[in-house]
Amino acid sequence: MWKWLHPYAEPQRAYRLAGKFVPWLSVIAILMLLTGTIWGMVFSPTDYQQGDSYRIIFVHVPAASMSMMAYVSMAIAAFIGLVWQLKMADWMAASIAPVGAVITFIALVTGSTWGKPMWGTWWVWDARLTSELVLLFLYLGVISLYASFEDKVLAARAAGILSIVGVINIPIIKYSVDWWNSLHQSSIKMTGKTAMPPDMLIPLVINILGFGVMIAALSLIRFRSEVLARNGMRPWVRELALAQGAK
């Protein structure tokens, strides 16, 4: 596998390869998000319990589920970078982090604005909310640790260790809050998935996948600029920069 992967481990190749994927992913993401959102907002039936407020689900659930996925992929990239010393993987991890942080922020805000009409409060210290908040803190920790080292090779290693420790921590946080909550009051659970009609489920799934593709596209765009920033001394980057400046 490494023999096959090796040519792509060259910065210039990776930069070009990522460049080939970006337009396709962007178009797919935009199409999926448009379809899913319009379908969900206009054509999906109104929920008999929650009325039209449930339509927040079409942005909330994709953001929440993809924020976790983005974290796991960041940690996997960081792990590969740490173990096999693959700089590409380090840069990928560093590119995913800000995207994941924004997605987590979206999941929190939309959850909060959904909670207000449904539960009557902007915030509940429920297991999901708390672990999502901690996820945001972990993302911010990784980002600021990466930013605070001058030497980006070291920065990537330090941030990588932190993101791997964080991945162990996430399930623990989730269960700990579940336990903790059972003390005070039973948290308000969302309606079961069993009751969801296909007219709600299909746009939701489209949006979830659309968010995933969008995260991939944004991470790859960031990855490309990260490759450029880290290889500023290489001739091909210099040529690119001077050509850009001449325009």
């Binding site: 206009v42 995207v99 924004v102 500023g232 210099r238 920069a241």
Partner: protein, 68 residues
């Protein structure tokens, strides 16, 4: 499949939950827009920085050779 809302006003009203629905969508897409904007302009900024650095080094090299 048919539209669930009879008029545009109905759509914006969202059965009384308009404020919350549009607030959440607004914040979500605004933050996404900021992220996309920053992400798209980053390449240009990085290249500009590198170009400035390259030019500076070139100037330095010329200065040095002129002196000798």
């Amino acid at each position: 499949m048919q539209a669930q809302f009879h008029s545009l006003a109905d759509f914006f009203h969202m059965g009384g939950y308009g404020f919350y629905v549009w607030l959440s969508y607004g914040v979500a897409y605004a933050s996404l827009a900021i992220l996309i904007g920053v992400t798209l302009t980053r390449k240009g900024r990085v290249l500009k920085e590198i170009a400035a650095k390259a030019k500076r080094e070139e100037r330095l090299a010329q200065h040095r050779s002129a002196k000798e």
